[in-house]
């Protein structure tokens, strides 16, 4: 019938860009780095195939320590972003007046408007030994000499939380916004205390938003480059920096690709584990808003 032909044609027209995009820009390139990662360099311009790049990774504690460190700090950052962002999202979605809600939300998005670089730059100006905070503290006499607030892990975590907290707040606001206040009222009415209502009603309800926010934040953190580099101290080593080093400083695409694959697999694993533990699915959380 004519109508189904039209349907088929429009389906093909709609599917083609999608297929090209996913195949050429996502799947094949990933396979590409997978392929490169299996290539071993035996001499200038000569290669064989094998797992030696992976073996090299495993046998070098620096690498997997960095990966573990990155993962562990990313989880820490995720947890902190949740802790910092939840009250804010809750305030925006549930407490603020209708009018101020939009303004607040917009204000929360402000840092999103400028690049990572500018933000990190701002932190450097503020936190360095001769920076704003240090000068201020000296001026009011809280400390006698200059204090160095840069170049340590705490600063990196703080800076990362800063860059990602918005991605936590946005999905949280959108789920909490969908929550009917009468659920909270019912929670109290049936005798729940503040804590009970929060623990048994608000949090379970917000779970999809929490998981979505955590996934995005975790991936962004694990994949971030500038903030850990610029704020991190002499001990900081971020896995993306390793990848960059391999690709750029060491011209070693093979091991760079290996690291890329490992980062992807590892973060995917963490995300999968998170979804598993919370009983959510990718489509129901991240794609919800």
């Amino acid at each position: 019938m004519a109508r189904t032909d039209v349907g088929k044609l429009s389906f093909i027209l709609l599917f083609a860009p999608f297929a090209l995009w996913i195949a050429l820009l996502i799947i094949l390139p990933q396979l590409g780095i997978g392929y490169i990662s299996l290539r071993e360099k035996v001499g200038p311009g000569e290669y064989t195939f094998g797992f030696s790049n992976y073996v090299a990774f495993l046998s070098e504690p620096i690498y997997w320590n960095t990966l573990l460190r990155t993962a562990w700090m990313s989880i820490l950052v995720t947890a902190m972003a949740l802790a910092v962002g939840f009250p804010v999202a809750y305030y925006i979605a549930k407490i603020a007046q209708r009018r101020s809600r939009a303004a607040l939300f917009l204000m929360c998005l402000i840092p999103l408007w400028v690049s990572d670089l500018v933000r990190a730059f701002g932190w450097i100006v503020i936190l360095r030994e001769t920076g704003l905070v240090s000068s201020l503290l000296q001026k009011i006499g809280l400390v006698s000499g200059p204090v160095e607030l840069l170049y340590n892990d705490a600063t990196v975590v703080m800076g990362l939380v800063y860059t990602v907290v918005l991605f936590m707040i946005v999905p949280l606001v959108s789920t909490l916004d969908g929550m009917d206040n009468s659920l909270i009222e019912a929670g109290y009415n049936l005798g729940g205390s503040r804590l009970t209502v929060f623990r048994r009603i608000v949090v379970p309800y917000a779970m999809p938003g929490i998981v979505a926010g955590c996934i995005i934040v975790f991936m962004l953190t694990a994949g971030s480059y500038l903030t850990p580099i610029l704020l991190g101290g002499k001990n900081s080593m971020w896995f993306t920096e390793q990848i960059y080093e391999q690709f750029v400083t060491r011209y070693n695409w093979e091991s760079g690709a290996t690291f890329g694959v490992l980062l992807l697999v590892f973060t995917s694993f963490v995300v999968w584990l998170g979804l598993r533990l919370t009983g959510q699915s990718l489509a129901s959380t991240v794609a919800k808003d």
Partner: protein, 357 residues
Amino acid sequence: MHDLQCESLVKRFGAYTAVNSVSFNVPRGSFFSILGPSGCGKTTLMRMIAGFEAPSSGDIRIKGKSVLSTPPNKRPVKMVFQHLALFPMMNVGENIAYGLRCRGENKADIGGKVARVLDRVGLPGTEHKQVSQLSGGQKQRIAIARCMVLEPDVLLLDEPLGALDLKLRERMKIELKQLQHQFETTFLYITHDQSEALLMSDNVAVMNAGQFEQIGSPQELYNNPKTGFVAGFVGDSNRWSGRVVSLSEGKVRVAIDGGGEVTALAGDNRIAAGGSVEVFVRPEAISIGGGRDEVLGGTVESLLFNGASSRILVRMDNGHLVEVGQAVMDGSVTVSPGEKVQICWSQLHGRAFTTAR
């Protein structure tokens, strides 16, 4: 003994007074309804009783004790919300057990109580169903069970049938009334649907613009409305505005705008000669033909067949459209559209009220 007493309750939102000096008592075990149009302050009143709003002034007493300083989660009143507010992330059993667990009852007891209350609302064994698997009527009953398992002194219901469809609503009306009998708990019921209020309640308060217009049994409200608002809001009525010609012995002679004069009972004592009034006559009090006190002429405009509650629309000579009740059961229709007819009713069935400004 009264389970719930409200005394001169007032609630202001800024300059706007949502509830204005409302007082009422609900006797133990009775079914009390508050009936009023949308936005008249019903929900606000109920939220004050539940503790979600603090009254601007006035007192609320439950079993004689003021609860003003009791926080909402400690008040012995439970509430069924308009959209039920069943917790979507818990199954039926958990929803019902929620209140018991908040109270800290032990696990074993809880299971038994949940099973028993589910039995009583006619849904035994549904503990493990998800809320989303229930039909509208079943959700309704779970929402009631969730409150009743806590054995509250008063159950508040805020338009609980609003979200249901027509046929189900009809059925749930009767069922709700039966549940109330069964639990022997005091129900405070809010609605804007007069048939719900009339059908189920022992007493109904008609609310308008933050105030109670009248409190009484359904029959009292229907047969003896005290204000024009009640006469118009409770049950169907034909309503004509006019001007008082004369007044004697509780009867008013009214010149209807557009032409014609009728006599009706004076509904309030502010009626004076020359004042403008509204006359209310119920369709089922009017019949076609002559023979009673009040007679007006008109033309049949159309026949609205609706089974037992069919109506005849008559365009009166003064231009007003009048609904006339039609006793169908035996009488096949005797009039047809376009026919000139007379309509009549007894003076006792007309009622005049001063027009509200």
